[in-house]
Symmetry: C2
Subunit: 490 residues, 2 copies
């Protein structure tokens, strides 16, 4: 079994697949477009989940669970929503199989046909707002701040592990508010939660902004997003937060009695991130040797590999290793001691490099004599031999250093690949090269679509923070208040 | 909105539904047989999940995620499995909807028909063993110890919140081993993990045993189970662990090379518990006033209600409450301070009684003067006024006491409703009354089915711990080595 990683230079797309598969993150299953998330990949997702869940709870949200299936008729209730989601979805039409008459196979039992087809949820606004109608009567019931961790299905034609799969895992927040202002504050709060998570935990810098009308969520009045830059110069949308206005409240008749007893429609938001973040994580930090993980999301932050000949040496080394391991664990650092006799140290070194373990410690008989230990960091691939005394302290600060270094490296890469275009010619040259391109836009769909048709670049967002001068649209020459962010994207 | 609970005496089944709905655990959705798990119910499930997940990881298991959909042909590969599961399942036949020609509704796009139908997983053995074929080559790859938290769908005709729903949440462990012995040890280990969880966290006593052949999981050689007794005298199967032999390895061709290089089929287990545990929890402890929660699974263990008139009094009381709250939280006790001005203390008392909060504290102006606090425990409904000094210590030991008391109460109830039958006449009388009935059985399907047809009672299990004398089957008079456990069941 060769685990060679194709270099990025040679084929970025194969490089990505090699890492996802050889680092044991995920693989394709026997079901078209559906992936198996392997234990090592799932452990990273669990770390993401734990941190996000904590942030949701700290901001007052509660978890709940809504049905996997949505009756077809629910989709028709919100017109733009059905246009966006009904096209590509898994439809349940029957509820029984039977043995065929010749006894040779199992077939669908045609007598068990559903009266109304059920859609496997592509997103849960409709089923949730159908429920909220029962939960909201008075202003006392508001705000409703609810999140769901779930699987969803969108029938994608071209799939890629983590980035675009038929089934994926995500969380979807769905909140209900008495006022428009409160709903907008919530929408903005949650996009900031996502941005903080991306930057502090994934070590991935993001641009926060608003989508243009064309790129909005089906059913939203505004969509906020965070956009990250991948190593091939393409943008990746890493999370969205939608201000839904009263669209779903009206579609599902959700009203509350205000303090004066008057009935009013409720204001809504929804927001989500998915296992797509795993793809973003891989593409932000990894190199040609394999995965590179930020310490805050690594299933184990440190691996210890003993260098020995024979059981006696292993025993001696183990005494020293267990002391180091216990000291590290007391500091909250997660450690794997790989004392397997079935694999050689060289094999183990390669394996943990491939899997992106932030720090590798190696210890042999010479180290025991000298009171030393070899420390290798995955991000820079640097190695040094340190005195073993206070090693827990040294590793603790090294992990902090690695987390920061990864963020800085990604930020520097992004900065080096962020450009301003003043004319459409310049824009086209820059977009061809790849990266983030800021350019003035007149706010019309026409200009946006012309750019998309000509260059495949889309408006990733209208940045929230505008430190920009006014200018003129690169297409129409009309006045523009700020540059917007263009890129080709995943 | 009246939240009256129907007494158990009057209608046990309505009592159960009243509690599940009025205590905000779950409700029916617009989708037939599918429930919405409400935030308070989901918080209890999260506590169950966290504890079980910890136990799985402590016993060496890793989490992963496998597809929601299973190709129809996979089911046909294990003959008894398909018989057990293909009958009632949701079948996906199409992957697109479209607007009807008259533009008035959305309909299934008949051109988007799947070549092979997909089944929404009722359980994941087939898709997982199809994957394990790629993961297992050599003895070095074994054992594979994997768990999945997921939703599953079984098309139930009669559904009841938590106890039997079309979609439910569960975990399913799927392990692969080199030897039969190791697989059996795993199967037994996991049923003991479930039993420990039930008793230590749910405060629910269980009997561990083996299923008879008729009651086994479709595809298993042995099924271990835990059985609990509900307050209406019916048994509830709370968890199962299956020794699958080499059935799935053979069906999906999963072989490993042993140390001598010889190819052998792998041995398998699977084990699961589901949101059904929520139903068991409700029915084990609750009373006619509402839910009763064991402290170890309560979303908040203590609620504090201030008794005041006007903002000034509330302010004074709050100072004292926040001190108590912080002292309790330092001990790891979860506390809710309900200072809402929209509801009166009496309403709050009733609400938290209904929701089963283990301890309620109330504090008013008189208490402030006297340095006291009112302590009410949910399990016994006893109230007393205690000195507020060292209240954290007192509550800490009270919570331990409540947890124990609930287990003892449930154990005493079970003991008082557990009987031995020596003849079939006696058996029929006892079963009619309800409860666990131990009786001798000759081990044949005929005797088992006769009993089931006559009385609706089934063999819940052949108990693992047999302190019993030999005897003769109550039906056939043939020799029997031990009594087995009969009951009517959920």
């Amino acid at each position: 079994m060769s685990k060679k990683i194709t270099p990025r230079e040679k084929d970025y797309s194969i490089w990505y697949n090699d890492i996802v598969q050889h680092a044991d993150l995920a693989e394709n299953s026997g079901v078209r477009g559906c992936m198996v998330i392997k234990p090592y990949g799932y452990a990273i997702w669990e770390k993401m989940q734990a941190e996000l869940d904590k942030k949701f709870k700290e901001t007052g949200h509660l978890n709940a669970y809504f049905p996997l299936f949505i009756p077809k008729s629910y989709f028709s209730k919100e017109a733009s929503h059905v246009d966006g989601f009904a096209k590509e979805c898994a439809v349940v039409t029957h509820y029984r199989l039977k043995t065929s008459e010749d006894g040779k196979e199992i077939v669908v039992d045609e007598t068990a046909k559903l009266e109304e087809e059920l859609i496997v949820r592509p997103t849960s606004e409709t089923i949730i707002w159908d429920t909220y109608r029962k939960w909201v009567q008075s202003y006392r019931d508001l705000p409703l701040l609810i999140n769901q961790w779930a699987n969803v299905v969108r029938w994608e034609m071209r799939t890629r592990l983590f980035l675009r799969t038929t089934e994926f895992l995500w969380q979807e927040g769905h909140t209900a508010h008495a006022t428009k202002e409160e709903a907008i504050i919530e929408t903005e709060k949650m996009i900031n939660v996502y941005a903080d998570f991306s930057q502090d935990f994934m070590a991935m810098p993001v641009v926060i902004g608003l989508k243009s009308e064309n790129e909005r969520f089906a059913g939203a009045l505004e969509t906020y997003c965070i956009e990250a830059l991948m190593q091939d110069g393409k943008a990746l949308q890493a999370g969205t937060s939608h201000f839904l206005g009263q669209n779903f409240a009206k579609a599902f008749d959700v009203k509350y009695a205000n303090k004066e007893g008057k009935k009013e429609y409720v204001w809504a938001t929804s927001w989500g991130v998915s296992t797509r973040l795993m793809g973003a994580l891989v593409m932000t930090h990894s190199d040609d040797k394999g995965l590179v993980l930020p310490p805050k999301l690594a299933p184990y932050q440190v691996v210890i590999v003993p260098i020995y000949k024979g059981a006696e040496q292993l025993e001696e080394i183990t005494i020293s290793v267990l002391k180091v391991k216990s000291d590290l664990e007391k500091r909250g650092i997660s450690v794997k001691f790989d004392n397997r006799d079935t694999h050689k140290p060289g094999w183990k070194f390669a394996e943990y490099e491939l899997k992106g373990v932030p720090v590798r410690l190696a210890i042999g008989m010479r180290d025991l004599e000298n009171g030393t230990i070899e420390v290798a960091r995955r991000d820079t691939l640097e190695k040094e031999t340190l005195q073993i005394i206070d090693i827990d302290l040294k590793i603790d600060s090294l992990l902090i250093n690695i987390q920061e270094n990864l963020f800085n490296k990604a930020s520097n890469f992004r900065d080096a690949n962020t450009f301003k275009a003043s004319s459409y010619d310049e824009f086209k040259k820059l977009i061809k090269k790849g990266g983030f391109v800021y350019a003035h836009w007149d706010g019309t769909s026409e200009s946006e679509l012309k750019i998309k048709n000509d260059t495949k670049a889309t408006i990733r967002c209208i940045p929230q923070i505008n430190t920009d001068e006014e200018g003129t649209c690169i297409i129409s020459g009309k006045l523009s208040k700020q540059r917007v962010l263009f890129a080709k994207s995943y």
